[in-house]
């Protein structure tokens, strides 16, 4: 487990989002953990992929080396600094071998042109933020959602945080792709009220091509959660020309009907949205689906989702919905 200077357990968190309403019931505070063992082609949170702190670079926000240049003064590497300016403007920085990851440059930047993705936070620090919105959870049946990245990569810390939420009487959701050892999952689910997970493809080879890993472990973990009596929201991000075939959705529906059954309270078919491209730029990474990848017109994909929803509902009896705006039956 990661620790801070004082030796306390920490999570590495990229973002705390308040008032989220789509990942679990009611008004929620969502915590995004950094690091993911998968790399889905359509990932819209590339800053959560790497399990260590990273520099995000926003050249447009830079004040220029003439007026500011605080980052260069802060960098301990002097002339060997990986921070580069061209014509006075900041260039995307890659944390090169010379870089000691001290992130002093980001601390010195007043304009947030250099910023750090990933912040170490203790349970107490996170709970302080979480309880701020307690009254809203109470009014709406909301609570906390742990998300990522892959929260299960930091399962020990997640377990501690979920325990603290339980003690504080706060509803908990875990959103995970479930590519993790089952014994870790068992530990975490003990303190989880609702699990949100997804199935991207039923064919393990295609799954591997799309996400970097096969699906066997994931499906096994879903079976395990169902056996534990875990209530689940299962999702499929429906990505045009990647996993949106009727055949694939039917296979997922059959799996849910036959092997998960009543544990699924909602099956959500989510539309693909081209999001996060700016973040890829700030990290110096290419967009994996390709810069030119374009989703079809709204009317087209909407009709497609509704048709798939109809098939899953009527032919498989699985409670499917298009999108994540429909109320959860909790």
């Amino acid at each position: 487990m990661i620790t801070n200077g004082a030796g306390q357990p920490c999570g590495l968190v990229t973002n705390i989002q308040k008032y989220t309403i789509h990942d679990g019931p009611g008004i929620r505070t969502e915590i995004f953990f950094k690091g993911c063992p998968m790399h889905c082609l359509w990932c819209s949170n590339p800053e959560t992929l790497s399990p260590r702190q990273q520099l995000g670079v926003y050249p447009k926000k830079c004040l220029g080396v003439e007026k500011c240049g605080y980052c260069l003064k802060a960098c301990p590497l002097g002339a060997e600094t990986p921070i580069r300016f061209e014509e006075g403007q900041l260039q995307p920085v890659v944390m090169t071998g010379a870089c000691r990851d001290c992130l002093a440059c980001a601390d010195a930047c007043p304009a947030k042109a250099l910023m750090v993705w990933g912040k170490k936070m203790t349970v107490d620090e996170l709970m302080k933020v979480i309880v701020e919105d307690r009254s809203f959870y109470a009014r709406t049946g909301g609570g906390v959602t742990l998300n990522g990245g892959e929260v299960m990569l930091q399962w020990e810390f997640a377990e501690l945080l979920l325990q603290a939420c339980r003690q504080a009487h706060i509803h908990t959701c875990v959103e995970s792709a479930l590519y993790c050892p089952p014994e870790h999952l068992e530990r975490v689910l003990k303190y989880t009220d609702l699990l949100i997970t997804d199935i991207k493809h039923m064919d393990t080879d295609v799954h591997k091509a799309l996400t970097g890993v096969g699906n066997e472990r994931i499906l096994d973990n879903i079976r395990l959660a169902a056996r534990m009596g875990m209530r689940m929201v299962v999702r499929t991000p429906v990505v045009p020309d990647r996993n949106n075939s009727e055949e694939n959705i039917r296979a997922i529906a059959a799996f849910l009907r036959d092997e998960v059954g009543g544990a699924v309270i909602q099956y959500q078919l989510l539309p693909y949205r081209k999001m996060g491209t700016e973040k890829y730029e700030t990290l110096g990474m290419p967009y994996p689906l390709g810069e030119d990848y374009k989703p079809p017109e709204r009317a087209e994909w909407e009709a497609r989702l509704l048709e798939l929803k109809r098939i899953v509902r009527e032919e498989y009896g699985v409670p499917a919905e298009a999108g994540s705006s429909q109320k959860l039956p909790v």
């Binding site: 989002q17 308040k18 008032y19 989220t20 309403i21 789509h22 009611g26 008004i27 926000k61 004040l63 007026k67 500011c68 605080y70 007043p110 304009a111 947030k112 701020e132 919105d133 009254s135 809203f136 009014r139 709406t140 705006s325 429909q326 109320k327």
Partner: protein, 867 residues
């Protein structure tokens, strides 16, 4: 109650009947009956961009000829008729002269009846016409005509008024007569240089000029008195009061002139309504369509009856309410004449008509919608400076309140509550300014209805919180029953309808400017020879304010707070004294005999409403720039005194240089590195509270000139833009002339928004401030992207947010539900967005009619997105 004939009631009997009204109120609990289902959805963020929004063809057809603009024309008749009356009665007292003035207008001004409409009444001119009120000031009207500032020009791109050469000539012809006879001239004779240097005429530390040109307005008449007595009953009450006078007593001698004036004005009102009856009868006679003919005949009969009698039906009651309010607007140049608790005082008529079969729910729904459009047709003349601070206010402030507690503490929601909200969604014009009162036991159905109308995105309605407003009013000495029975006036202000002459929105204090003077030893930033006051101030080594301290030499943060406190006291002294001078001018120059007849207590006391004739008398000026002042204090505390990252001298120099050459510091003070108000951060929130409390402390309970005291408010409406235009850069990251923060909201500068933690954090930060202390009202503007409120999930979570704001004792909220893209598209292509209504602050306006500064201010407000 069964109002069938003219009855005369004492105030006590009146009050008894008034109780009866509330006992009859029905509880909807789960089954409100209105024309629309309670959970009817009209879409999210569509605003007014819909053809034929009403289910009633008649309403849609009236809407087709209804102008979607606050522009109008100057109507000269009123000014001439008042002049004629003043000239005919040169020896009479001021009260009598004023009464003859209004009576002459009501007797002779042209009347209009329009196709399809079911209600009559206007301001004595065609739709969108604005009569001239020379008693308040004529110089500016004529000057603006001469200087080309009244009609469209580069200096006046909205709220402009066309006029003919003939109109200008007619106004010039009476200009000399009014010199030194009007409120404006009288006030100016009372003012000193010290009062003026910080005012609208000086550096704009505060604005207190609105009521110099306008009347005070900002009130609602006593609806129970009007409906239960009628103008006939009021006439009889005046006669009785006159007959009881003992003229050997000097005080009765004084009352005599007031009562005579009231009698003249009352007779004028009766005559005015009779004239409508006559005109309607004539119109009916020449109408061939039998359906319309019957309607006109009914309308004539309605007017004939209510000229002196008490209304018997919903139709008669709504007609009387409209006419009685139009006459207030004809008499007085004030705005924000409000419609009280419409769903409460109209309920007995609704119930009666349904039970007896006189009318149907649909018919009454149609009447309410027609009534809303009639209010939108009205207009008021304002000068080219005032319209900048009150962009597209139009007639200004005709609030209409629904929902909330009854005087006995039960919930008062009824069918009409729902119908009034439906009517807003059906007509989608900016008037009236609808206010829904919420409290901890508001029925779920009403919350759904309110949320659905808000989600539509026209900016209506606003929500008011009984749970904090009622205690706040109690703290001003208002009785529990009356406090529970409050209405909302104009943009923001809680008010006891008919019993309060509240001088709401009397002035504005720029707290951010006060902070500037407090850290710069009384001197403005950017003090130089270009300032119009240079020769009598800076050039002599003088400074605008008192020398209370200089941040460059201060050694502790407490010294900053102390200096702010002293500086604030000085400027509040100036504003209060200026407002009291205006108050005295109104009493001496322009008493309001007609208004006095429809307010509670004036006839009984024998005192005009301007002199304190009614029960409660306040003056309510607002603190503006709360967030800007709070962030400024936090910036100083954190960066200068705690972290010592910059010196006070450097910080002031950066602002003096408008941040040029200080870019890193500019980025830093605008970043979330610095504690900022609006993020649920106690550090900044407590300092913001200090900034606000200090203002309240120096305003509250100071005596005013009409027998009451001052009440602070905390909101800006749009005056934050006007204050910003007068202020150089400020230390929390504002560049020169940018708006200061709006209402209770967080700071958003050209660089970025200072609130970054979303709606829940805003809700919590804002409710750490003491709303109850701002007895003249508070306001928080929320702006949501439509996607945040979509679907049942969006709706219910939004309701939870409203509930929490109510629970945490936030007083008042208003909502914009328009996407940033829509607003920017509308800015580029105004013609395709003529019907796009948006919340400005306190009211809604057509976005494309606003000036660019205000448009940018609205676009800049942080858009709250939930996902």
């Amino acid at each position: 109650m069964a109002p069938t004939a003219t009855v005369t009631l004492t105030n006590e009997e009146n009050l008894k009947q008034h109780k009866d009204v509330y006992e009859n109120a029905c509880y909807v609990d789960t089954k409100p009956q209105a024309v629309e289902p309670f959970d009817k959805e009209w879409g999210v963020g569509l605003s007014g961009n819909t053809p034929e929004p009403s289910p009633f063809p008649r309403i849609n057809s009236i809407l087709k000829v209804t102008a979607r603009t606050t522009n109008g024309f100057v109507a000269p008749d009123r000014a001439e008729l008042v002049t004629e009356a003043y000239k005919a009665h040169p020896g009479e007292s001021q009260e009598i002269k004023c009464a003859y003035g209004i009576a002459n207008v009501l007797e002779k001004t042209p009347l209009y009846i329009y196709d399809d409409e079911l209600i009559v009444g206007g301001l004595g001119c065609d739709k969108k016409g604005a009569p001239v009120h020379p008693e308040f000031g004529l110089n500016w009207v004529v000057d603006e005509m001469r200087d080309g500032l009244m009609d469209y020009s580069e200096q006046r791109t909205h709220d402009y008024f066309s006029y003919t050469a003939d109109t200008q000539k007619r106004m010039e012809a009476i200009e000399d007569f009014w010199r030194n006879k009007c409120v404006e001239d009288y006030t100016n004779s009372l003012l000193t240089e010290e009062q003026l240097k910080g005012s609208h005429a000086g550096k704009g530390v505060f604005f207190a000029d609105a009521y110099i040109f306008c009347g005070a307005g900002h009130l609602g008449l006593d609806y129970d008195r009007l409906l239960n007595m009628g103008f006939g009953g009021i006439r009889d009450e005046i006669d009785q009061a006159l007959s009881k006078l003992d003229l050997s007593k000097p005080e009765d001698l004084e009352k005599r002139d007031f009562l005579r004036a009231a009698k003249i004005a009352n007779a004028g009102a009766i005559r005015h309504i009779q004239r409508y009856a006559e005109l309607l009868t004539a119109k009916a006679a020449e109408t061939t369509d039998p359906k319309r003919k019957a309607e006109l005949e009914q309308m004539a009969a309605n007017c004939t009856h209510i000229a002196t009698g008490t209304p018997r039906t919903f139709w008669e009651a709504i007609q009387l309410v409209h006419l009685a309010n139009c006459i207030i607007l004809i008499e007085c140049n004030g705005h924000s004449i409000s419609y009280g608790r419409f769903d409460q005082y109209m309920y007995p008529y609704y119930k009666h008509d349904i039970e007896t079969g006189v009318s149907t729910r649909e018919k009454m729904q149609e009447l309410i919608e027609n009534f809303y459009i009639k209010i939108w047709d009205l207009n008021k003349l304002r000068n080219h400076i005032l319209i900048k601070t009150f962009g597209n206010g139009g007639i200004g402030g005709p609030a209409l309140t629904v929902g909330g507690l009854l005087p006995d503490g039960r919930d008062g929601t009824n069918d009409l509550t729902f119908m009034c909200l439906d009517a807003n969604a059906h007509v989608r014009v900016p008037n009236p300014w609808l206010a829904v009162r919420l409290h901890s036991d508001t029925p779920w159905e009403l919350k759904v209805k309110t949320a659905n109308v808000i989600r539509l995105g026209t900016g209506e309605p606003k929500i008011f919180n009984d749970d904090v407003t009622i205690p706040s009013m109690l703290s001003s000495g208002i009785s529990l029953e009356e406090a529970r029975d409050y209405q909302v006036v104009g943009c923001v202000e809680p008010d006891v309808s008919g019993k309060e002459y509240g001088w709401h929105d009397a002035g504005h204090m720029n707290m951010a400017k006060v902070l500037e003077l407090a850290i710069n030893n009384g001197r403005c930033f950017h003090c130089n020879a270009e300032c119009p006051r240079w020769s009598k101030c800076g050039a002599l080594g003088e400074r605008l304010g008192p020398q209370t301290g200089d941040l460059r030499t201060m050694t502790s943060f407490d010294q900053v707070l102390e200096s702010y406190d002293k500086q604030m006291k000085y400027w509040c002294d100036q504003m209060v004294s200026l407002l009291n001078a205006v108050d005295i001018a109104h009493q001496n120059v322009r008493p309001l005999p007609y208004l006095s007849t429809v307010m509670y207590g004036c006839i009984e006391k024998g005192v005009d409403v301007t002199k304190g004739g009614t029960k409660y008398n306040f003056t309510g000026p607002q603190g503006v720039g709360i967030g800007t002042a709070g962030d400024g204090l936090a910036t100083i505390k954190q960066l200068v005194f705690e972290e010592k990252r910059v010196t006070g001298a450097e910080l002031i120099q950066a602002a003096e240089d408008n941040w040029v050459g200080h870019e890193p510091l500019y980025a830093l003070v605008n970043s979330d590195y610095v504690h900022h108000y609006g993020n649920d951060d106690d550090y900044a929130d407590e300092l913001t509270k200090f900034a606000m409390d200090t203002y309240c402390k120096h305003i509250e309970h100071r005596p005013n000139a009409h027998g009451g005291f001052f009440q602070p408010g905390c909101y800006s409406v749009t005056v934050n833009v006007a204050h910003g235009v007068k202020q150089w850069a400020s230390i929390e990251g504002r560049t020169a002339f940018e708006p200061v923060s709006d209402c209770m909201g967080a700071v958003h500068t050209h660089c970025c928004s200072h609130d970054v933690k979303g709606p829940l954090a805003i809700c919590r930060s804002v409710t750490k401030l003491d709303h109850a202390r701002a007895t003249n009202g508070t306001l928080l503007n929320w702006k949501f992207s439509p996607s945040a409120l979509a679907g049942e999930v969006g709706r219910d979570n939004f309701i939870a947010l409203m509930d929490e704001y109510v629970h945490r004792k936030g007083m008042h909220s208003q909502f914009s539900v328009t996407s940033q893209e829509t607003l920017i598209a509308a800015q580029k292509d105004p013609d395709n967005y003529r019907d796009l209504l948006v919340r400005v602050a306190g009211y809604s306006a057509y976005f494309v009619e606003l000036n660019k500064d205000l448009q940018d201010d609205i676009i800049g407000r942080t858009e709250l997105s939930f996902d």
